[in-house]
């Protein structure tokens, strides 16, 4: 905060290359004690790489990291923990069968003569929860908690190690609006207790609201640091301009004409016991239907059941006046597409290239008699890369080596170049930057304008 300008962590001239590609170029960056510091930049700007270096996953090629003014060597996660740096992972690593306290004290159990001191451990965790006003009970089972609650457990795990810096890489990506609000409250409370937060998110409104300072990266270079305390505060336009290198026209999305064509999908009284109950809806040609609701309301499950991934316990679905098939393969053949929300575990094959991932849903388009055609594969991948503006635009690059947002573009892109008559989309823009987000929506709108029906979960 304002009165406390002491610097906690400073990176000086950090350089990182991946097989000759400079991903971080002489980045200087510092975090003060007790501030919320956001890292912004387009997909592939190098944000995740920078925090991987700070948290000891990637070695840096050059540069120095100082903590409290002293240069430190960070070669592993243990090193970063020892230096008071903790990371709240998106992939939550909590053990659901244990209680909150057991999760948090795992590996640091208090014992006396080899016996666990349950009471003491619970008390210690509860004290910590109360100190930051996190609204959990130490004796609660983690299985009962929502995603947001589990994230709080992860934060607690960081706090128990006396972390002075907590790094969060896109923490709100899978949270609802209300849950995000709760998280912001926790972040502020941490800050007021002197903990520094390094925050990464593509939701710029969150970033403006939370941050004391914002550092912007573009193509691996530092392009600006914005300070709330500075004259005039943080100007959103300037941040965006720094991110994309040009001023983004705030074009209004064009008015969509409501679909008036024939019914593409007709869902009648559909249920999957335990997930959703008695859902009826219709989508017409050229229509985009949004499904709202809270996280856990069964929206994802509804889409999965329609597509044939999950079972249906009651009700019926007709697609183009025919009962919909229960076979995914058949559904894809007849022009239905499905984009899963969980890109990391369901979206792509990491060690294969962009072009190989692009063809996954339609081998027919790139092969004849079961034999693949290189030229057709390449052409298809090129088309996709252009549509979603992939960076780097290399069809032979392994998907594992793309940044999170660019991986998402590949996941979405392979369906966008497929001629779908019905597209079921579960959160298409998780982790995608502002520019790409509007591009993806534009493609979806174009598809609808060309007669496709779209159901989209936001």
């Amino acid at each position: 905060m304002a009165e406390n300008k002491e610097i906690l962590l400073r990176c000086s001239k950090i350089v990182k290359e991946f097989s000759g590609n400079r991903v971080l170029d002489q980045v200087d960056f510092d975090i003060r004690k007790g501030e919320v510091h956001s890292l912004c930049g387009e997909n592939g700007a190098g944000k995740s790489t920078l925090i991987k270096i700070i948290s000891g996953i990637y070695p840096k090629d050059d540069g120095v990291i100082y903590i409290n003014g002293n240069p430190v060597d960070i070669h592993s996660r243990q090193d970063s923990t020892a230096n008071g740096i903790a990371v709240v992972y998106q992939e939550l690593s909590v053990m659901t069968t244990l209680t909150v306290a057991e999760n948090i004290m795992a590996g640091k159990e208090l014992t006396k003569f080899g016996f666990l001191q349950k009471k003491q451990m619970n008390r210690r965790v509860q004290d910590l929860i109360d100190k930051y006003d996190l609204g959990l009970k130490a004796t609660q089972r983690v299985a009962e908690l929502s995603t947001a609650g589990r994230q709080v457990v992860e934060i607690l795990k960081a706090l128990i190690t006396d972390a002075s810096l907590i790094i969060m890489d896109e923490p709100t990506a899978s949270l609802s609006y209300k849950e995000s609000e709760a998280l912001f409250k926790i972040i502020r409370s941490l800050r007021d207790n002197g903990v520094s937060i390094l925050y990464i998110s593509h939701r710029l409104d969150e970033v403006y609201m939370l941050s004391d300072r914002i550092t912007v990266l573009r193509d691996g270079k530092l392009v600006g640091v914005f300070d709330k305390e500075a004259e005039g505060g943080i100007k959103p336009d300037e941040v965006i301009q720094a991110m994309v290198g040009k001023s983004l026209s705030t074009e209004r999305q064009k008015e969509l004409t409501p679909g008036s064509g024939k019914v593409v999908l007709d869902v009648r009284h559909l249920s999957h016991r335990g997930y959703f109950n008695d859902i009826s809806l219709q989508v017409h040609e050229g229509e985009i239907l949004g499904i709202g609701g809270l996280v856990g309301a069964g929206r994802t499950e509804l889409l999965r059941s329609i597509f044939g991934v999950d079972p249906v316990t009651a009700g019926e679905v007709t697609y183009l006046d025919q009962p919909i098939s229960r076979s995914i393969r058949q559904n894809i053949k007849s022009g239905i597409g499905f984009i899963s929300e969980d890109r990391r575990s369901e979206g792509f094959v990491p060690q294969l290239s962009v072009e190989q991932n692009a063809e996954m849903i339609n081998f027919g388009a790139v092969s004849s008699f079961g034999v693949l055609s290189k030229a057709k594969e390449r052409a298809r991948a090129k088309k996709m890369i252009e549509e979603v503006n992939l960076h780097p635009a290399d069809p032979k690059y392994k998907v594992a080596n793309f940044s999170g947002g660019n991986q998402q573009k590949i996941v979405v892109g392979k369906w966008l170049i497929h001629n779908c008559k019905l597209l079921l989309i579960d959160e298409p823009t998780v982790g995608v930057d502002v520019g790409a987000k509007s591009e993806i929506y534009k493609i979806i709108e174009d598809m609808a304008a060309n007669g496709a029906a779209v159901i989209i979960r936001q």
């Binding site: 991946f18 995740s48 243990q78 998106q90 890489d169 899963s340 081998f363």
Partner: protein
Amino acid sequence: MQKKIYKFAKVFIIVAMLIWMAVTSFGSFYTVSNLSSILMSAALLGIMACGMMFPLLVSGPDLSVSGAMAVGGMVAVKYITSHGGTTSSFVTGLLLALLAGALIGAVMGAAIHYFNLPSFIVTLAMQYVLYGAAQIGLKSKVVCSSPELFCKLGNGRLFGFPIPVYVFLVFVVLTVFLMHKTVFGRKSFMFGGNRKASVLCGIKGAPVAILVFAYSGMAAALAGVIMAAMNQQASATAGTGYDTNVLLACVLGGGSMGEGIGSAGGAVYGAIFVALLNNCLRIASVPSLYQEMIVGVLIIAAMAFENYFKAKASGMHWSRRKKKVEDTRDFA
């Protein structure tokens, strides 16, 4: 860069073995008969390694190959001897053996896929079943020395090279084509690389799982027939030790345990490496028990190296204190 060092190291080890032999036992190693025996065993190993690379992409090692070899040899020899050793009986016998191998693999693949079993256990169990079957079928050794084509398959030469080497080359071409040029091969990579994503893209798992094991079984049966032709007899113990040797070849060639990583070229490299290594050890008169130990140690070492270089190539710290590969997938 890391990748280049790694590739260089792989070739270097082979060169080092050749130099070692040149220095210590030039006279016994660099003879036509020894070199062609290396080629022969590389051919046998290579055919099976090309086969096993497929299940290694999708679900894990196929340890039944030694049993499938014995059964393949048995089927072919029994058919040929009971049909008077004619050339046409040889062709039918060979085809029957390949069919038997493919069927064995298909059964395992189906069991692994439909009952969601670990391939390691299923194929090891199948190895026992097949050994048993071969022992029952071959109570006494069955000698077979006709037709001429059959003997040629084992011991013939063409332009100075043993016939099995040509069979191997044809098989490599077939495997490269299947693995890297066809939809089936691509699906194997995808299914091993990310099962859930593949299912959501409409790729059916059953045909992939069944076909990869069928291909491996067929390759093993083919090797079994060649082996029988070399010995001019079928024996139940013909394939002993081939399971680990083939696995070593595949692992050295970069095959994964069902994670969608591997290549036909890797299988060829591994086969040549293992054949050469076994020969060097024999010439250096290392007792066979030690040879087996060395194979075991090498399997572990090769996999450790593979993981190490994978971590390095993706730019991660090789944690000095904990000596383990850190997982980076937690970050977007």
